[in-house]
């Protein structure tokens, strides 16, 4: 019997704001423990939550990018639970009236066909504190407590690991390019919980669902789900019922591992947050949040592809928002987008990878890279341009023109008659090399080409020289 997987995702995104969701405490990643907390974050009696405007703007932007209905009244609710990760004894969230509902994201399925994944809701809430667990004690760092979050809940319409991975990738692109979040799964600023169950094809009822928590990379989402689907299939085929449980993905073994078996659903006794009255957002406020949203990934990609970049090239540049930003700055001085993209993807990326640094640490200003690529458009060879680039990377204060002159690099002359006369001259002067070549020494032609390049002082194209040399030597 074949089974259909039913997958739903809950994605928590930490918002990139200056202050926290309900307090004015700084909101930054990786500061030393318990140095970014205010009395509210630690639930001192009498402290009151005040909603962060930028967090609301960010949530509206994401909701709009996901084609959601946006609620113009913001309401918060209490999710009550007793645990050390939130000292108030409750989390402030939006249970009853999420800021956005009924949206969708289009992804490519396994056959690269467009598929719409409907999204139930997006709501704002506060993050919990970070807990470190040891053998017989736990440590609490409240820096993360109160960090603004949006939670995006999909409908259970995802059918395999590839679709899940592409869905999360699509969400990540939206939150990163709207400047809502860093979207760094490995640092926990985008966290993903997956619910997966299996049912025989044609059956409408859902099977027993298993939750896989905190998967920390796109690749792991695909792997975890493919493993889990295979595991549940094998169980069902052997007549073993799947039990409702929470699992985690073990990267080393590529398997999901049982964390705990779920018993009764926890009753969080949600009720409207009495310390935050409903907040009315004007139409202008909502529209302005949407209108001022930075250009999103898909729009940039369409623009890049329209200007001549391949799909893959556009994806490579857009895979890092800082790379995309560098590309756009360089475009101001570059004549041709495609040439610039090639330099960025091959030469610049090669330089960065070799040194293990990011584009933010690349020594050359983007405008100069743009100017450099123009040399190629003006007739300099790729190799000449790369030589100038390498020199500029050593001397980044020089202008492109100064670097070119310092390296003594001149534009190639496109003159077949000149090439022919120089080749003829070189052949006449080196009869021994001709004899060596005819005798089977292939390297002799390299020497002859070198002689021509020397005579031309590097101004002729080596490819032209090679072509003419091969033709002429055969005539001897």
């Amino acid at each position: 019997m074949n089974f259909e997987a039913v997958i739903g995702l809950e994605i928590h995104v930490q918002m990139k704001t200056k202050s926290k969701m309900f307090s004015s405490s700084p909101n930054a990643f990786s500061k030393s423990p318990n140095t970014e907390v205010t009395v509210f974050d630690m639930a001192y009696p009498g402290t009151m939550p005040v909603v962060n405007k930028q967090a609301v703007i960010n949530a509206i932007r994401v909701a709009n990018a996901l084609h959601m209905e946006i609620d113009h009244t913001i309401c918060f609710d209490r999710k009550n639970y007793f645990y050390s990760d939130l000292p108030k004894g409750f989390q402030i969230t939006q249970q009853f009236r999420p800021i956005g509902k009924n949206g969708y994201l289009e992804i490519l399925d396994r056959d690269n066909k467009k598929k719409r994944i409907n999204i139930e809701r997006i709501h704002m809430e506060e993050d919990t504190c970070k807990q470190l667990h040891f053998a017989d004690y736990s440590l609490l760092d409240y820096n993360r407590a109160g960090t603004p979050l949006v939670e995006i809940v999909s409908r259970p319409e995802i059918r395999n690991g590839t679709e899940a991975m592409r869905y999360v990738e699509g969400i990540r692109n939206i939150v990163v390019y709207s400047l809502t979040s860093d979207g760094k799964m490995e640092e926990g600023s985008l966290r993903c919980d997956v619910n997966v169950s299996l049912r025989p094809y044609g059956v409408k009822e859902f099977g027993t669902k298993v939750e896989i928590k905190n998967i920390n990379s796109l690749k792991n989402i695909e792997q975890a789900l493919d493993y889990e689907i295979a595991r549940q299939s094998a169980m069902l085929l052997s007549g073993t019922p799947v039990q409702q449980e929470t699992r985690r993905f073990d990267e080393a073994s590529g398997k999901t591992i049982l964390m705990r078996v779920k018993t009764d659903a926890v009753d969080y006794k949600y009720f409207p947050e009495p310390n935050i009255t409903p907040i009315a957002l004007s139409d202008e406020f909502v529209q302005n949040a949407i209108d001022t949203c930075p250009e999103l990934y898909e729009s940039k990609k369409a623009r890049y592809v329209a200007s001549g970049l391949s799909d893959t090239d556009a994806d490579i540049i857009l895979s890092d928002i800082n790379m995309a930003s560098y590309f756009e700055s360089a475009l101001k001085s570059a004549k041709k987008e495609k040439t610039l993209a090639n330099y960025l993807i091959v030469e610049v990326n090669g330089y960065l990878n070799k040194r293990g640094i990011s584009i933010l640490d690349f020594p050359l200003e983007p405008e100069k890279l743009g100017e450099l690529t123009n040399l190629q458009e003006d007739g300099f060879t790729h190799k000449q341009c790369v030589d100038i680039l390498n020199y500029l990377l050593e001397e980044p204060t020089l202008s492109v023109e100064e670097a070119r002159k310092a390296k003594g690099i001149e534009k190639m002359v496109q003159d077949d008659n000149l090439v022919l006369s120089l080749v003829t001259e070189a052949l006449n002067e080196n009869p021994q090399s001709i004899a060596d070549f005819k005798g089977g020494n292939g390297r002799a032609i390299g020497f002859l080409i070198g002689q021509v390049m020397k005579k031309a002082k590097g101004k002729v194209n080596p490819a032209d020289v090679s072509r003419v040399m091969n033709e002429e030597i055969k005539k001897r």
Binding site: S24, P33, N34, V37, T38, V50, N52, Y137, D141
Partner: protein, 98 residues
């Protein structure tokens, strides 16, 4: 509405990790009895079902949102001053997961 009896109160106290004397449980039960009667009185108001549940006694919608400006946080010493036990700048508690 769920009936509030001694079993419910014992269970709630157990979940909240505290206990009381029998006398205190009795007092609490009586107080809940008064509250329940009052709620029943309100429930008898005619046409109540035509109103959505209210969190606040009167409409009090606002339009205020805080500007996203960070202020000086507590010093770590202040933040941790009420912690029973501290290790490496973090609050140390008994292990809370199995």
């Amino acid at each position: 509405m769920k009936e509030i009896n001694l079993d419910v109160l014992h269970d709630a106290a157990h979940r909240l990790l505290f206990d009381m004397s029998d006398e205190e449980y009795q007092t609490l039960l009586e107080e809940f009895g008064i509250l329940t009667k009052q709620m029943e009185l309100i429930g008898k108001i005619e046409g109540l079902e035509n109103y959505p549940p209210m969190t606040f006694p009167f409409p009090c919608e606002v339009d205020y949102l805080r500007e996203d400006v960070a202020t000086e946080p507590l010093s770590r010493e202040e933040a941790l001053s009420n912690a029973g036990s501290v290790l490496d700048g973090e609050i140390k508690i008994p292990k809370v997961v199995g």
